[in-house]
Subunit: 186 residues, 2 copies
Amino acid sequence: MENRFYTFVGGNTGPWSITGVQPVIGPSLEMAPCLDILNANLQEVPPGAQWFLRGVTSNQRYVTRPEQASLVAIQESLGRAAATCAALIPITKNATWWALTQDERREIFEARSSHIATGLRYLPAIARRLHHSRDLGEPFDFLTWFEYAPSDSEAFEELVAALRATEEWNYVEREVDIRLVRKDRV
Amino acid sequence: MENRFYTFVGGNTGPWSITGVQPVIGPSLEMAPCLDILNANLQEVPPGAQWFLRGVTSNQRYVTRPEQASLVAIQESLGRAAATCAALIPITKNATWWALTQDERREIFEARSSHIATGLRYLPAIARRLHHSRDLGEPFDFLTWFEYAPSDSEAFEELVAALRATEEWNYVEREVDIRLVRKDRV
């Protein structure tokens, strides 16, 4: 069976150098030299590591069929040779968000915040993978991993700024922005 | 923080006697004498137990605000003294279901299968709690726990029969039906 679990480990090993860890909303995470990404559900922080964050890829929660078709038609995979820049952005939404019903969350997410439409504008330049963490008892609800080429750095900044300006982001109570570069490709 | 994890343990201890374990679709689970329900995320099967199943309560995935208001207005809590009968029904949906988009799943779940409306007809007699297991890497996707009085046994059979006859159930690839009675109340 496909293993949908991922563990992000901040420590002394791994293919990505961490260039910065910035708190956006609420408390930050510790700076660490490197990030390793394991396709596994680690049960404890590996020896010598500072922190680990776990998530699981899952079914879509808000996307409709036409939106999904648009995404699939143009999105790129992770691991492109030119994509030497990355970001790991863990976020937690507040209790008010989670008490909303599905229709209310969808309304805010897309009808009023255009989360999917905004993301689509930056494809295929920015590849991403969303990991769900809330139901694993993790400190964050979501971990989003982004990869892009250095020449798309400005586009990436626009994307995160656009999302942070939405009504949806009023429900974010913690966000950390971790930036990285690929060690073996720079 | 509220612990949303539950572990159902089939073994020699616990307040519920298991009266039957029936496979409905796909392979069954082993018969065990008793069931214990722990508000915890056990990492391994307790000594002497035959099996354990884990799940987490979570946000609503399909319910709209008006539906939620109807549910909240009439549903009862678990643990009622008269509710000496229970059922634990683990189900797994197939890959086709999970590849559907949110709007497609909602359409099948409620517009075409009336899952919520059917459940509402049996409230407040039947109390239930839904646990999500798929993203924990468990063998089942959902564990639903039901409690009802012996006088509502017939209503409970009607409810499960109605759900099993829906289009939604075409996507169920495994289902086990475990029936129980409360030891200290019979």
